[in-house]
């Protein structure tokens, strides 16, 4: 354990992780862990412990902003967390038994495809009769889970966005596997939560980012407590990190609230593709 660390690198890392993490509904651990281990020379357990606490403060800060603007779908977040939390525990147990490089490459390729799906594209126009028929079928199926619907005011388009949540059962199943994968591959849950909610459940991107932030708080809380119990959190690393993550998260959440969804989609798709490529390169030992 190094006796001192470069406070400026620590502050910059925390701010960057908070900004990007809260803007995209991801934790920010993908920035913190590599910097703490590679640039500051901290042992990996200490880096992960500090990163988990940073994710909790990031998620809580982002949620405090998003939920006040009603962007967070509280009921949906709570429901999906019910599958995500046991998934993360199952993944942590599986991690000790499974060899992950092949899985990482497969999942990386899948993430590149999801990044392609998430890129904003022109909607195919349906004929009015097709729209009406689809609507009637959907309304019948939708009645049972209408309690998950949400609405929020979007300042970027200056109007209220009301939306319905589709296929909650599929969302629960994919959330469980998202939890398993996040523990198994050491990636944050947000990178899976956001595509699941936006692509499978058809929730608007801003609502999915805000809801993902809430879910991250629940899933990382347990892990952070375990690392503290095992003595892998040191005050002089975690204290400046928390303060800077908080500042970055406040700014990131405010920017995401005002940004256009299409811009956020481009940023998220780019970030997803870069993370996927890095994961594949690391699994194939091509990163050095």
């Amino acid at each position: 354990m190094p006796a001192d660390v470069n406070i400026w690198i620590l502050a910059g890392t925390g701010f960057g992780a908070g900004l990007l993490g809260s803007m995209l509904g991801v934790g920010g651990g993908f920035i913190i862990v590599p910097v703490l281990t590679l640039a500051l020379g901290l042992p990996i357990q200490y880096a992960i412990g500090s990163s988990l606490i940073s994710i909790v403060i990031n998620a809580c800060t982002a949620t405090s902003v998003y939920i006040r603007c009603h962007m967070t779908n509280l009921k949906l977040g709570l429901l999906l967390s019910c599958a995500l939390v046991p998934g993360a525990v199952a993944g942590a147990f599986l991690a000790a038994r499974l060899s992950s490089p092949v899985l990482t490459v497969i999942f990386g390729a899948l993430m590149i495809y999801v990044a392609y799906l998430m890129m904003p594209k022109k909607q195919r126009k349906l004929k009015p009769a097709q729209v009406e028929a689809a609507g009637t079928v959907h309304e019948k199926e939708h009645a049972s889970h209408a309690w998950l619907d949400g609405c929020y005011y979007d300042p970027a388009v200056n109007r209220e966005i009301a939306y319905q949540v589709h296929r909650p059962t599929l969302g629960l199943v994919t959330s469980f596997f998202a939890g398993v994968l996040s523990s198994l591959l050491g990636i944050g849950g947000g990178i899976v939560n956001v595509p699941v909610m936006s692509q499978f459940m058809k929730a608007p991107l801003k609502a999915t980012i805000a809801t993902s932030a809430l879910m991250l708080a629940f899933t990382t809380m347990t892990g952070a407590i375990i690392y503290i119990f095992n003595g892998y959190v040191v005050p002089y690393v975690v204290a400046p990190l928390i303060i800077c993550v908080f500042l970055g998260a406040r700014l990131g959440a405010a920017l995401a609230h005002r940004s256009r969804s299409a811009l956020l989609m481009w940023i998220f798709a780019f970030f997803l593709a870069v993370t996927a490529v890095l994961m594949i390169l690391k699994a194939l030992n091509l990163l050095g």
């Binding site: 403060i57 809580c60 006040r68 407590i225 928390i242």
Partner: protein, 121 residues
Amino acid sequence: MDYQYDIRHEQLHRLNRRISLVLRVGIAASLILIVCGLILFLLSSAPLTAPLLPVTSLIPGFAALNPAAFITVGVILILFLPAAVLILSLAYFAAVRERQPIIVCIVLLVMLAASLILVLK
């Protein structure tokens, strides 16, 4: 949009505002403690390379103005904020008698407690 729908959304918006308030107050309290810890560290140049303090050492640590005690309490406060959100949501949904969210909150609370016990064993 019917009248019942409007009432349900207004109730949910009220809960959202309360959760936001709890989170903001919790984060502010935690940051104040952490900043106090950092100031004490700079003033006393006490060693901070040790892990966070165990719960039993917190009160003596506070009395001795130990910087690590302030930072430890700040960190613990942050970690309990998600649980506070869950308990507040459960209490609110119980008060307005919304069956599905009550079940979801109880299941999640049990899952979190069970996963913590399982992993700490």
